[in-house]
């Protein structure tokens, strides 16, 4: 109940004021979650819960402290509020600290259609059945699908509320459901696992379990027989799932947190060409039904669309109220509440705009190269752009996918990778708050045999 959460939030910020805080904001979330995994036709795990969480930030002038609790019993919440105010006496005065300025809040909270009430009419048995069908479709796709990590249906309904001491109170409800199938393909004694999924805020937009299962099976099957290749310099094509990770690295590098800490390879480069002309990236919190959409951010700032990279030119970093003040910019509505109650900068719907080329045309343009379907490891340094990750992919020979490749790495530097994006696909899929189409990079070092 949004009104009940608003009541708690108001009470918490009032208490903080009484105890001497000059300002405070309270962020509350209630989540109703359901998850079921079916494996080899039987329910393996079923989990259901309703949980609540309060995150509080207080200011004493421009000193701050924060807290978080799952225990919402009034006496313990009061005690935590008091302790949080006490802690704020011990932190440093920071001239950029404080709540967002008064003109930053939305005049009215827009309805971005983030919630679909029809999910609730899906019974537990129907939810189990979706997972069962998504797994079965993978098994039925091919006899080489011999095992499975199962298929899962998950649903979440959340209510988010924010109240602060300058009078902003807002709340919104959101739903999301997802269905994933994780089959294992086997041949000649070696196994390959892959997955496919659908995730959406609206029940009628969930892909059919049969399509998900079949597609997941194809993805696992095409990895069979994977081999190493010789070390070489070749064109690299990222499928949309993998291209998202590249776009996420760009987000990490344009976040105001990284910029003022100088932990980014894009420090001091607004107005400069940082990517090829085919690259345009935006952060758009106001996409109707978007998985990263919200009417206001986690500190109450009105959200908006921010052009980040236009035709390869870096236009803007992304800011919370704090990083905006640090860097002399307006907050962009990207304030994101961390687990402990602090504000960091987070993506809303951060995506690389699709281009003209079909994925097939992109693959066809490569004489000899690698189509990447999975990246593993953490070898990405956004401080200076150095990049080295483990890869599973499909070798491209004369414009066609030829055979699977594994146990190799690709390496380079994000600066060059962005400038070397030669082709942008027309196949963007919004499967999270960061999204991208198929991308082709002119050349990277592939390390193998």
């Amino acid at each position: 109940m949004i009104s009940a959460l608003k009541e708690i939030a108001r009470r918490v910020v009032d208490r903080a004021k009484e105890k001497g805080a000059s300002a405070a904001d309270a962020f509350l979330r209630e989540d109703e979650t359901f998850g079921v995994t079916v494996r080899r036709g039987e329910v393996e795990k079923l989990k259901e819960a309703v949980s609540q969480n309060l995150r509080l930030r207080v200011f004493l002038g421009n000193r701050t402290a924060t807290s978080q609790t799952s225990d919402l019993s009034p006496s313990r919440v009061d005690q935590l509020v008091d302790e949080t105010v006490e802690m704020a006496h011990l932190t440093s005065a920071d001239e950029s600290g404080g709540l967002p300025d008064e003109d930053a809040y939305p005049a009215e909270v827009p309805d971005l259609r983030l919630s679909d009430p029809t999910w609730s009419s899906l019974s537990p048995d129907q939810r189990i059945d979706l997972a069962r069908r998504a797994e079965a479709a993978a098994f039925q796709a091919d006899s080489r699908i011999t095992n499975s990590e199962g298929a899962s249906f998950e649903f979440e309904r959340s209510e988010t509320v924010l109240a602060n001491t300058v009078g902003f109170v807002g709340g919104y409800e959101a739903t999301a459901g997802s269905l994933v199938s994780v089959p294992i393909a086997e041949s000649n004694g070696s196994m390959q696992q892959d997955y496919w999924f659908s995730v959406t805020r609206y029940r009628d937009k969930l892909d059919s379990p049969e399509d998900i299962g079949r597609h997941a099976a194809q993805r696992a099957l095409r990895r069979l027989g994977a081999q190493k290749v010789k070390t070489c310099e070749v064109p690299i094509v990222f499928d949309p799932l993998v291209a998202r990770t590249l776009v996420k690295h760009v987000f990490d590098a344009v976040s105001g947190d990284a910029i003022y800490r100088k932990r980014s390879f894009l420090v001091g480069q607004t107005g400069e060409q940082v990517a090829s002309e085919s690259v345009t990236i935006v952060d758009d919190a106001r996409l109707i039904g978007g998985l990263g959409s919200s009417p206001f951010d986690d500190e109450g700032v009105a959200t908006r669309l921010t052009p980040v990279v236009e035709n390869g030119i870096l236009r803007s970093y992304l800011h919370s109220a704090y990083t905006g003040r640090k860097l002399g910019a307006r907050p962009t509505g990207n304030g994101s509440r961390t687990g402990g109650g602090n504000i960091s900068v987070g993506p809303t719907n951060f995506y690389l705009k699709p281009g003209q080329e079909s994925p097939d045309a992109i693959i066809a343009s490569v004489k000899s190269g690698l189509y990447v379907v999975e990246l593993i490891g953490f070898g990405v340094n956004t401080v200076n752009g150095d990049y080295s990750r483990g890869v599973t992919g499909l070798w491209i020979e004369d414009g066609k996918l030829a055979y699977a490749v594994q146990e190799v790495t690709i390496a380079g530097n994000l600066r060059e990778m962005l400038r070397n994006i030669e082709m942008v696909g027309n196949d963007i899929a919004f499967i999270g708050s960061v999204a991208a189409p198929t991308l082709k990079i002119r050349s990277m070092t592939l390390s193998g045999e």
Partner: protein
């Protein structure tokens, strides 16, 4: 046993033994094989310093109870953050949904089970530590890093402590609780020169209190170490690309074992035969020089526990002995289904998560060589002494881990530092290529976080200096 007389849940949250018995009975109303309740209270504090300011001070409280019902291979799970009777009963009945017979029964708890361990006997819990002292430690570390070298431009440091109370009660009568302390200090330094920016990261901690930072782990020393690493990388050359001999230094590079074999030996994947290690018990998976253990019983270590999150005492489990695969890391569900004893590796991030087989402290036993002999034996290779993170594809067995401090070895001598690069290999075969193991086993300093199914838990790793005859290095220089 050195535990307080009663668990905090009975002492301060009004939970009674009779309540617990009735919740377990409700959980078995539809005839599950087994049920357990996991009460958890996690209190942590963190303090953060950057730009020479104490910018953040945070307290977090996570309180709740998870209820699990097992029926064959099925798991039903629900949790409640409200510890009142009505909320917990509702959660118990939700967890029971997966079972489908009518055979209920009543449950009686035994007297508390003595888990026989007291691995972190400290009197003052981290939650009670003095915030001013933590701030002083951060400021000293910041000063130490900045005075190390003028090229150090940014220092970020944080101090996190946690006290975790757990209470596990099961339908088999098990009734056991624990109080688990944890402290962790970490520091990142950014060095800058002519537009070249590099970072160094260090940290440490364990199931201790602040005293560890006055003795074994001086934050100023860790700060200088992070600064040294950042400055070193300013002069590093491109890493090589291709297969080569690699020497791993002692301690944290044990992340190799965690990724290459540890995850693949978790029992759930092997029970379901989805791991590249499925069915390999009794077979040779490593050179005879390799003996690898997972040991949750080392006092004060980050990965240690008196009891796991299913109430089983932790163990020292031999995974590989002289190259031969001996067994898997078990939780309750997999051990029952596989018909083998539990190993005390059932762990969960919190009350809101289902327990899974997980590692504790995973390391390789020391060998006979000296570090100097190992390095001298390499004609052209890489010497990696510090790593960032790693990841594994369980089913294919392919893993990567990323060096954050590495050097070339040329003609038996350590020469130029090289930039970070990922190393990629195949879990079931990489240890067969271990041709030298030195006598300098070290455990890491206490910073490891392991992620599985979205659940993060603290772990430890360890390694003596070893030589791997061939592994692919993912640099850019051919």
């Amino acid at each position: 046993m050195n535990l307080p007389g009663r668990s905090v849940f009975l002492e301060s949250y009004g939970v009674t033994i009779q309540d617990i018995e009735s919740y377990l009975s409700a959980a078995l109303e539809r005839g599950g094989d087994y049920a357990d309740l996991f009460f958890e209270l996690r209190i942590n504090h963190s303090i953060g310093l950057e730009e020479q300011l104490i910018k953040t001070a945070t307290k977090a409280v996570n309180l709740g109870v998870g209820i699990r019902v097992l029926s064959g291979e099925k798991t039903g799970y629900a949790y409640s953050e409200n510890l009142d009777r009505e909320s917990i009963l509702k959660a118990a009945r939700t967890a029971a949904f997966i079972a489908s017979s009518s055979a209920g029964g009543s449950v009686g708890l035994s007297t508390p089970t003595d888990h026989g361990h007291n691995l972190y006997p400290i009197t003052l819990m981290p939650a009670e530590l003095e915030i001013r002292e933590k701030i002083a430690l951060l400021e000293q570390a910041d000063a130490a890093a900045r005075s190390y070298d003028a090229r150090i431009r940014q220092v970020q440091a944080s101090f996190v402590d946690e006290t975790r109370h757990t209470l596990l009660a099961s339908s088999e009568g098990r009734y056991v609780w624990d109080v688990q302390p944890m402290v962790r200090f970490s520091i990142t330094c950014i060095a800058e020169e002519n537009g070249n920016r590099q970072y160094g990261l260090q940290g440490g901690g364990g199931r201790r209190t602040l005293e560890i930072f006055r003795e074994a782990l001086d934050p100023r020393a860790l700060a200088r170490e992070a600064a040294r690493q950042a400055v070193l990388l300013l002069g590093a050359q491109e890493a090589p690309a291709g297969p080569m001999e690699v020497v791993l230094g002692p301690g944290w590079p044990g992340i190799l074992l965690h990724e290459a074999i540890g995850h693949g030996l978790e029992a759930d994947f092997n029970r379901k035969r989805t791991s590249a290690f499925s069915g390999l018990v009794g077979q040779k998976v490593a050179s005879e020089l390799c003996t690898v253990v997972d040991d949750g019983t080392i006092p004060f270590r980050r990965g240690s526990l008196n009891v796991d999150d299913e109430g089983n005492p932790t163990n020292r489990t031999v995974l590989i002995e002289n190259g031969v695969l001996k067994g898997y890391l078990q939780d309750r569900l997999s051990s029952k289904l596989m018909g083998v004893p539990a190993t005390g590796n059932g762990r969960r991030q919190g009350y809101d998560h289902i327990p899974l087989p997980r590692m504790t402290n995973t390391f390789m036993m020391a060998g006979q060589s000296t570090r100097e002999e190992v390095i001298r034996s390499v004609k052209r290779g890489l010497y990696a002494t510090h790593f960032g993170g790693g990841q594994v594809d369980i089913t294919s067995g392919k893993f990567v881990f990323t060096a954050s401090e590495a050097y070339l070895i040329e003609d038996g001598k350590v020469t130029a530092p090289v930039k970070g690069a990922s190393l990629i290999g195949d879990g079931p075969t990489v240890l067969k290529k271990v041709t030298m193991v030195a006598n300098d086993l070290q455990l890491d300093q206490g910073i490891g976080i392991c992620s599985k199914d979205g659940q993060m838990i603290p772990v430890g790793v360890g390694l003596p200096t070893i030589k791997i005859d061939q592994i692919t290095v993912g640099g850019t220089r051919k």
